[in-house]
């Protein structure tokens, strides 16, 4: 059945992939971007009035946890994708730390099947680097590539054994796939549950030193320099980590990285009330680290903005800070949080920020997405940059509620999310 055409009229079209930033119309037809121009005729198309809004390529989050298979009470591919479109995302890449881990062809196929059955956005599975994410033997990377895995990661932990990481980079390079590394030396992190420093000492909580991140990045960069393999640092959080990536890029290494809203907005002091919604891995760091991450986004050292959306049930997050699991959810509130961190203080403009949410993440995973060029997939997000609203976790589509931003007053919101030419999300009253 032919999808109905949609004409998005009069919005500010921002398409960083081709440097476009101009008011105009976007015509979507047959699941593709048909035309961009001014005063396009509507014909039979449904007309969406986007005056005052930003029209951009659908946002892409290359770091989410959808918990399926294994923890479907916390999230499913269907519920997680519903949260994604409500936040303006049209594509997500889901991490393989499910139960069982996505470490073979069957696991990757399962994600695609579940997505076909009920996902509201595109879901791209990331396969495990090692069998069972145990860090010992390489998983069947080649067969996972054939099944559609877009990258490889043992996220939740790093590949600790240097020889295993060397082989993983070498092997994944055969398929031109990046390895996404959770950079944390587990011995140096030493069971820490928050950043090591004055606050951890005050609270009597074991701290994870920022050098745990730095050390693993440094080691991996040595391997990347030797192998020339594609390498991506997940959820960077430290000033020294950012500096290492900056220098590696200057040296021409194929290195990319990403950052989460919480590492741009929050510091370790937030753990002061033992609220487990501030417990994540990597942990909230110091003010200097936050400043360095912001600077990294501004100067392009940090390529992508991600959420590390990590759902957990209430009963788990109600455990003591020491015992509660790491992670918070973020898909439904990420966009205004990036606005708060980057645009409101005047560090960036919309085109710069949207680049790191569209074409840059698409390039990291080699996805043919992230642009509104004619002929591109009709994945479009319409954003009201002036919308003021209050984050209310009770209204989230995610199955989980572990989010520290509940009650925050924010600005900027996705009002319509179009995936492959179909409206998958429309804000109430829109």
């Amino acid at each position: 059945m032919r999808k109905p055409d949609i004409l998005i009229r009069g919005g500010r079209i921002i398409d960083p992939a081709c440097g476009r930033d101009a008011v105009g119309d976007v015509l979507l037809a047959g699941g593709k971007v048909a035309r961009i121009g001014e005063g396009l005729p509507a014909g039979d198309a449904e007309v969406v009035d986007a005056a005052g809004c930003i029209v951009c390529p659908g946002l892409i989050d290359i770091h989410v946890h959808l918990r399926e298979p294994g923890d479907e009470t916390e999230e499913t591919i269907a519920s997680g994708s519903a949260a994604a479109v409500a936040g303006g995302f049209t594509s997500v890449a889901c991490m393989p730390n499910t139960r069982p881990a996505l470490d073979d062809e069957t696991g990757i196929e399962f994600v695609y099947q579940q997505a076909a059955r009920g996902a509201l956005c595109h879901v791209f599975p990331v396969g495990a680097v090692t069998k069972g994410r145990e860090g010992r033997e390489l998983a069947e990377i080649g067969q996972m590539v054939r099944a559609g895995a877009v990258a490889f990661s043992d996220d939740g932990r790093g590949v600790e054994n240097t020889a295993v990481m060397f082989k993983a980079l070498q092997y994944a390079a055969m398929f031109d796939k990046p390895v996404l590394q959770h950079c944390e030396d587990p011995h140096i992190a030493g069971g820490g549950v928050m950043n090591s420093g004055v606050t951890a000492v005050r609270l009597g909580l074991p701290g994870a030193s920022p050098i745990a991140e730095e050390l693993m990045i440094q080691r991996d960069l040595t391997l990347v320099r030797e192998l020339g393999a594609r390498y991506h640092v997940c959820h960077i959080s430290t000033a020294r980590g950012v500096e290492l990536v900056r220098r590696a890029k200057a040296d021409g290494l194929p290195v990319t990285t990403e950052v989460c809203p919480h590492h741009l907005l929050l510091t370790e002091e937030a753990c002061g009330t033992y609220d487990t919604n501030y417990k994540m891995s990597p942990p909230l760091r110091s003010r200097a680290d936050v400043e360095a991450c912001l600077q990294g986004v501004v100067d392009g050292t940090i390529d992508c903005l991600v959420t590390d959306h990590a759902p957990h049930g209430l009963q788990e997050k109600e455990l003591e800070f020491l015992d509660a699991p790491f992670g918070i959810i973020g898909l439904e509130c990420a966009l205004p949080l990036y606005v708060k961190a980057l645009i409101e203080p005047g560090l960036m403009d919309w085109p710069g920020m949207l680049k790191r949410l569209t074409v840059s993440p698409a390039r990291v995973l080699s996805l043919a997405k992230g642009t509104l060029a004619e002929g591109a997939d009709a994945d479009v997000t319409i954003i009201d940059p002036q919308a003021r609203w209050t984050i209310d976790v009770r209204r989230f589509r995610s199955k989980s509620r572990n989010c520290p931003y509940d009650g925050w007053k924010v600005t900027g919101r996705a009002v319509m999310t179009i995936v492959s030419g179909q409206v998958r999300y429309r804000l109430e009253g829109w």
Partner: protein
């Protein structure tokens, strides 16, 4: 709500001296970090008043008659529990004991469910010992009962801190201007933290001594002095508080051997001989004799170890009394 800010209660020393107008309002005692000098001194005055009860032949006063205290212990501690139990009984309260290995609680009933269940039986105060820092703070948020922290992980052990400071004050007549040296595994010690906050608030200077691996430098930024040379630190010390060294710290490679630890940081008679003659030697117990503390020092004339234990009773009576009184003033409990 603002990101990154944790709302703290104003903590500075009160401008007015500890006059009679002071009113105790806290219904929980979670740590000493938040307490003002005025509050600390008020606890001490209350403890002094209650000490008299223990000298009577019938060692009871009916201050908390009809109130129910629950020892909620998720970690073994016979002595702390006995001390709280006896303190509650001297004030004529009823005492219940709940203890559980933490593993069975983590797997089965959550802390919240445990608390809610016991609370439903009609109790007034939870005395909580828990291996996870912050556990009593969580309970204080969702319970209408008084909560007393009897040691949470590596965070605080406020009554032990109060006992130590009370004992110093009793022996030295003051806290302000004293040099207090605390020796041992500072990183993992809740006793060290509680002592540090209370002593600093009352104007003492605190020096932490121990191996670099067990004394976080971050304490300097909070106002402590740090030393790795016990002899040097003892020179101008008025008080030395020796912390118990846990055997498992050796397996985690935080120091190479017990022998080396004793050589560097153990308090021996020879070491003590070079300190001020009236130096007060303390230990929160239980002692590893021959490790952090030589036997003859533990039993010697400078030692206040047993006095700490008896003062423990008065301090815990005072704390139980004050938080319960505050709770009934809130109208949350029956009048006393």
């Amino acid at each position: 709500m603002t990101p990154g800010s944790s709302a703290e209660k104003p903590a500075g020393t009160a401008s007015a001296g500890p006059g009679n107008s002071f009113v105790w309002t806290r219904r929980h005692l979670l740590g000493l970090e938040d307490l003002s000098a005025e509050e600390l001194l008020y606890i001490f005055r209350t403890a002094e008043n209650l000490q008299e009860i223990s000298t009577r032949s019938v060692k009871k006063a009916p201050a908390l008659r009809g109130r129910v205290m629950v020892n909620l212990f998720f970690e073994d501690s016979t002595r702390t529990r006995m001390s709280f139990t006896l303190a509650a009984q001297r004030l004529a309260a009823d005492v219940l004991d709940f203890s559980a290995a933490r593993s069975s609680v983590t797997k089965g009933e959550s802390l919240r469910d445990t608390v809610r269940n016991i609370e439903a039986m009609g109790v007034d105060t939870f005395i909580i010992r828990h291996p996870a820092a912050g556990a009593p703070h969580a309970v204080a948020q969702y319970s209408r009962c008084c909560v007393i922290n009897a040691g949470d992980g590596q965070h605080e052990h406020p009554t032990q801190g109060l006992i130590d400071i009370f004992t110093i004050r009793e022996r030295k007549g003051r806290i302000e201007g004293l040099n207090v040296v605390i020796v041992g595994d500072i990183a993992h010690s809740r006793v060290a933290r509680s002592n540090f906050w209370g002593l600093t608030r009352l104007g003492a200077r605190v020096t932490f001594v121990g191996p670099t691996t067990l004394v976080p430098r971050a304490f300097e930024r909070l106002g402590a002095r740090i030393s790795h040379d016990l002899d040097e630190a003892l020179k101008d010390a008025d008080v030395v508080n020796m912390l118990r060294i846990q055997r498992e710290r050796m397996t985690s490679q935080e120091f190479p051997s017990t022998e080396e630890y004793v050589r560097l940081f153990g308090l021996t008679r020879e070491r003590l001989a070079r300190a001020k003659p009236d130096i007060l030697v303390m230990h929160p117990g239980p002692i590893n004799r021959g490790v952090e503390l030589a036997s003859d020092v533990a039993d010697g004339p400078n030692s206040s170890i047993l006095r700490q234990v008896s003062n423990g009773l008065a301090i815990r009576m005072a704390v139980l009394f004050l938080v319960n009184q505050a709770n009934s003033q809130d109208g949350a409990g029956p009048p006393g």
